[in-house]
């Protein structure tokens, strides 16, 4: 695979795994690492042998914020010209399901990276948070937009303004994580879930992801129309034929993503 500086890439069956690998910086996100993650997700999207992606960190840290040293001498204009967050925009176009496996800390940009994924599996000792405000700034890669969509405006406002650390239990209670898992079991359980997803019909998943994500940003009537069209599109797939045939024949379907 491509030579990356800050990530490792593995494939296990039809699951693509991206591991953040800047341990000396607690996997702090710089522009390069984000670009590498997104580039690899795009490759997985284009790769027929991959059905689901997992983004993970190291055992004790998912990703602890952004690279402050890289950022401290930036100015308004240097940011405007470099447009450093544009890589994040490409994340929104990823079509296949992406799971964040959060072990330990997911802070600032690390939390935003997890929120960009479709699912979050977290260890029981994980911590989430947006500490940017404590440095006199604010989240810049989607924190103020994504968190309120998940936990509501009031709770999000409190967490982002106070910049505290949220325990995994609290994150679970607020609906941020899909499943809390013991640290010893996180790898296996995340993989087990990824495999279940990988057996689902890929085209239906793609259409569902689009309908759910776009539905958040458009009026209900438009969302319902989008859903209807996507529902119709599903009928153009072999998986639809297979799924319904298997149902009638009382056997398990085998989906090909065609």
């Amino acid at each position: 695979m491509t030579n990356y500086e800050h990530i490792h890439v593995f494939q296990e069956g039809s699951i693509g795994v991206i591991q953040l690998n800047r341990p000396e910086y607690m996997n702090a996100l710089n522009r390069k690492i984000v670009a590498e993650v997104v580039t690899q997700l795009e490759k997985f999207d284009a790769d027929d042998s991959i059905r689901v992606s997992i983004v993970k960190g190291s055992e004790r840290t998912f990703a602890a914020g952004a690279d402050i040293e890289e950022m401290m001498n930036e100015s308004t204009l240097s940011f405007e010209l470099a447009d450093p967050f544009s890589d994040w925009d490409r994340f929104l176009s990823i079509k296949k399901p992406v799971i964040a496996m959060v072990t330990g800390f997911a802070l600032g940009g690390g939390f935003e990276l997890a929120l960009h994924c479709d699912f979050i599996f977290a260890t029981e000792n994980a911590h989430f948070g947006f500490p940017e405000v404590n440095l006199g700034v604010m989240p810049g890669a989607g924190g103020t937009q994504l968190l309120p969509r998940i936990i509501g405006k009031r709770k999000a406002m409190e967490w982002i303004m106070l910049g505290g650390h949220m325990t995994a239990k609290e994150a679970d209670r607020l609906g941020i994580v899909n499943h809390l898992v013991a640290p010893e079991r996180i790898e296996d359980e995340t993989m087990r879930f990824a495999k279940r997803l990988a057996n689902q019909p890929p085209i239906a998943l793609r259409l569902i992801k689009e309908a759910v994500n776009r539905g958040e940003d458009i009026p209900l009537r438009e969302g319902l129309l989008l859903e209807r069209k996507n529902f119709y599109i599903a009928f153009d797939s072999k998986d639809q034929k297979e799924g319904m045939k298997a149902f009638v024949e009382k056997r398990k379907p085998s989906f090909k993503g065609e």
């Binding site: 029981e124 898992v181 013991a182 010893e184 079991r185 296996d188 359980e189």
Partner: protein, 260 residues
């Protein structure tokens, strides 16, 4: 081991960490410094791979008389005292993954009782006693007392103890299920050591998994608990102690667990 403590003693022997509250002239009552020392000792014991059980006991005649009453008055910021001192201690105790034991060598009063309630096991003798004592000065039991006690002995008894400030003897504690062991005062030191030794030789990983999920089970529905059990069992199954347990069973001998 570097011992930087002044109001407690900390030592590790036979795979157990012993935290001894050491202000006997003041019945081991809590000062902010002592609470900080207990908190840091608990964290140290939890990190130490050789430690497989943690004991808290008191020097002299008392276990712990609670907050040193001479240091508080009606202007005390109790919320701050709790948030900044007692809560970190209780949370550090709760975070210990190994068996924790209160060897209640005398009176455990007020926050001293709260501390004893926050451990996994209590061992007492006939002269040990517990008393809430908070209501006596117009306060409420704190440091997790209200959370822990009803879970241990049921709501009605807990309410009675919390509100009536009744002194509970060692024997009553045993009857209530508050104490795991009641031993003779004359044999105190050796009985405590025997009990601690037993806990320090359990399959420690399995113990910590049980502890992790049993408290959750008190307020979680069955379904998620079953899922947690299934995952935790797989973790336990991968330990050396499980292998040893099976092997010992086949060979009809007593297993020797290493906590690995």
């Amino acid at each position: 081991m570097g011992n930087s403590f002044s109001e407690i003693k900390y030592e590790v022997k036979s795979n157990a960490a012993w935290i001894t509250l050491n202000r006997p002239d003041a019945f081991n009552s809590f000062t902010p410094e002592m609470i900080k020392e207990v908190t840091s000792a608990l964290k140290r014991a939890n990190r130490d791979q050789d430690v497989r059980a943690v004991v808290i006991t008191g020097e002299g005649r008392a276990f712990c008389a609670g907050q040193d009453i001479k240091t508080v008055d009606e202007n005390t910021d109790y919320s701050g005292l709790l948030r900044n001192y007692y809560h970190p201690m209780v949370k550090a105790l709760e975070a210990v993954t190994k068996p924790t034991i209160a060897a209640v060598n005398g009176v455990a009063a007020g926050a001293g009782m709260s501390l004893a309630l926050a451990t996994d096991f209590r061992i007492v003798h006939e002269k040990s006693s517990f008393v809430s004592a908070f209501m006596g000065i117009g306060l409420i039991p704190d440091s997790g007392f209200i959370y822990n006690l009803p879970r241990m002995i049921g709501y009605t008894k807990a309410l009675e103890i919390a509100t009536l400030d009744k002194q509970i003897s060692g024997e009553e504690a045993k009857e209530l299920g508050l104490a795991t062991e009641l031993v003779a005062l004359d044999d105190w030191a050796e009985e405590v050591e025997k009990f601690v030794d037993r806990l320090a030789n359990l399959p420690t990983a399995a113990f910590s998994l049980i502890k992790r999920y049993m408290m959750d089970s008190m307020h979680n529905p069955l379904d998620p608990l079953l899922e947690q059990e299934a995952q935790a069992q797989q973790t336990a199954a991968l330990t050396a102690d499980h292998k040893e347990g099976l092997q010992a069973f086949i060979e009809k001998r007593k297993p020797v667990f290493t906590g690995k």
